[in-house]
């Protein structure tokens, strides 16, 4: 760069150009240092957490020799086992339902014009932008009113638990799935479907044999997103769960608030390994299907940041 300037403007003072070059390499060094700092910042806490999960000292953060004892405690803990079981069932069920509903919603919005389409579009975006805490409050009030109503009408005494958690997870997951699938649909050549229908395929057949295979990476990406969102959620779940059933993050959140124990270290490491496993899986899906699986990063990032405050 400076060499070019030198050649174009032979009168330029050499000292000044040299000064430029020095300043420039200084900037470069600072940029590289900042980048290393960012990676250290990202990974050092995680690394320390993993290391201390193997420490025998009861004080977290103090090394007391190697042990697998905290992992033994974790495996033997029945409340944690129950919480994991609830987490997995909620995540799978809410993912399956929201993938079906979200894909249909995306298809309807991208391919059809119908009455109420605009309102539907807005309603579909709202769960993504709404703050976690607001959504949690909504679920709390909704289930309290809804169960009161059921009690009044049928004398049914229902409590919050597995069903209410799943219902609230589906409510935010539909939107995320549909955003991801829509991005894929928008990028797909619509004439392929039209060609199939010109060749006497029914709407359903065209969807099943032409559209669906085309948007499959988007559907897979949406499913993975829904799965991680469901497995990670704390705030909404806390308000939708009852004494009957809690998920693992809510249970761990409760433990942390009561005080830090080495048991939490080992549970945390297991949760971390599971979520990193899902990331690598989604990257792999993206790679093997030729990209675009996670949809528009901006929209997903927007929602993701909201869902995890």
């Amino acid at each position: 760069m400076t060499a070019v300037g030198d050649r174009l403007l032979p009168g330029a003072s050499v000292a000044r150009v040299g000064d430029f070059a020095r300043r420039f390499s200084l900037t470069r060094g600072a940029l590289a240092a900042n980048a290393w700092f960012v990676y250290l910042f990202f990974y050092a806490p995680i690394a320390l957490l993993v290391v201390f999960s193997f420490s025998a000292d009861r004080n977290v953060g103090r090394w007391g020799g190697f042990t697998l004892g905290w992992y033994d405690d974790f495996i033997g803990n029945t409340s944690i086992q129950n919480a994991i079981w609830v987490s997995l069932r909620v995540a799978l069920l809410s993912t399956v339902i929201s993938v079906v509903l979200g894909t249909l919603a995306a298809f309807a919005i991208e391919r059809f014009r119908f009455r109420g389409r605009q309102a539907f579009d807005a309603l579909l975006y709202l769960p993504i932008i709404i703050p976690d805490v607001t959504m949690a409050v909504m679920m709390l009030l909704f289930f309290s009113e809804f169960f009161d109503l059921l009690n009044l009408l049928f004398g049914a005494d229902l409590r919050k638990g597995f069903a209410s958690i799943t219902v609230s997870h589906i409510a935010f997951n539909i939107s995320f799935v549909s955003v991801v699938v829509r991005a894929r649909l928008a990028g797909m050549d619509r004439r392929l479907e039209e060609a199939a229908m010109d060749l006497y395929a029914s709407r359903w057949k065209a969807f099943r044999h032409v559209t669906l295979p085309q948007i499959a990476p988007g559907v897979a990406g949406g499913a993975l997103l829904a799965l991680t969102l469901s497995l990670d959620d704390v705030v909404v779940t806390q308000f939708a769960s009852g004494p009957g059933a809690t998920t693992l993050p809510v249970y761990v959140f409760g433990l942390i608030r009561r005080g830090v124990t080495p048991l939490i270290n080992s549970v945390s490491v297991v949760m971390l390994v599971a979520s990193v496993g899902l990331v690598l899986l989604s990257l792999f899906v993206q790679r093997s299907r030729g990209g675009g699986a996670v949809g528009p990063p901006g929209a997903v990032a927007a929602g993701r940041s909201r869902r995890r405050s």
Partner: protein, 302 residues
């Protein structure tokens, strides 16, 4: 998207049998509605209705047992937001969210720029290592700081070793900001990177050739061109920081109550549902506004 936006009348203009075409368009519209209906109904029952309930509660009153009642409805709960306690919490949340955004921008901007100067192979690997914390469990990532910042934590033992005494920043506003920056830095980096990467770097070279200093070319060329990314990233960090609940609960102390925790307290312990509901609505309004700005800045494509 663009195809779907074309009204059926235009696409069928010049058709031989307009009645038939119109009937077909109506059938098509009906079919679209039927496909949308399951998700539509679900969101109305389990999202719009709950939202309406919160809205209704924000105008409710409280009887002498503290229960929310719908007699004498009005703006009482909203008026209470101006009280010193609530106002302090609002300002504190706003300040910490702004601080978090500023720090993220300060660290994230040079980082994103650095990424764009790497070869595409290195860049992809570096990006994956930004994506991993971005996708991994938020609760656990916050908890990790608890281990580091605590009384027996690594930081306090390092400062003790250096003869500075045991410095404990856990349960202070600094710890909350640290946790928020840690949690949301990837949300700053990714849109910033996306917008800086698109900038034609020859423009900067041209500026340098015309004797712009490094600072000048940043100030006059790079920064203005990367503005959409700056706006998008700032909103992605600011908005969730404002409503943060998990981070302040884990890393903050009793003296640093923030908006999110305050709202939760109104429902779980203080049992002042109207105030909690009105605050959640205010929070949502801020987010809606920010989202509009975000999309205006081109956030959808970043």
């Amino acid at each position: 998207m663009t195809l779907a936006a074309v009204p059926p009348e235009e696409t069928t203009a010049g058709a031989a049998t307009p009645e038939f075409e119109r009937a077909a368009a109506r059938a098509e519209s009906r079919r679209g509605f039927l496909i949308a209906v399951p998700a539509y109904l679900y969101l109305i029952v389990f999202f719009a209705v709950p939202l309406g309930i919160v809205f209704a509660y924000s105008f409710a009153n409280r009887n002498r047992f503290g229960e929310a009642v719908f007699t004498n409805i009005g703006f009482d709960a909203y008026r209470r937001l101006a009280e010193p306690i609530v106002r302090d919490i609002l300002f504190r949340s706003l300040w910490l969210a702004l601080l978090t955004t500023g720090i993220c921008l300060l660290i994230g901007y040079p980082f994103s720029y650095y990424l764009t100067t790497r070869s595409s192979k290195v860049r992809n690997i570096l990006l994956v290592f930004v994506m991993i914390p971005f996708w991994s469990n938020f609760l656990v990532r916050n908890y990790a700081w608890r281990v580091i910042l605590g009384k027996d934590g690594v930081i306090s033992r390092i400062t003790d070793f250096l003869g500075l005494g045991e410095v404990e920043i856990l349960f202070t506003p600094s710890a909350v900001v640290l946790g928020l920056v840690y949690g949301f830095l990837p949300f700053m980096i990714l849109p910033l990177y996306a917008s800086i990467e698109r900038i034609e770097m020859s423009l900067i070279e041209a500026g340098r050739d015309l004797y712009a200093s490094g600072w000048q070319s940043f100030r006059r060329i790079l920064f203005p061109l990367s503005k959409p990314g700056v706006i998008a990233g700032s909103i992605l960090v600011f908005v969730p920081s404002l409503g943060a609940y998990v981070t302040p609960e884990i890393l903050g102390g009793a003296k640093t109550t923030l908006l999110g925790s305050y709202i939760v307290t109104q429902f779980l312990t203080a049992r002042n549902w109207p105030v909690g509901a009105s605050l959640s609505f205010v929070l949502m309004a801020v987010m809606l506004l920010a989202t509009i700005v975000y999309f205006r800045a081109g956030g959808r494509n970043l």
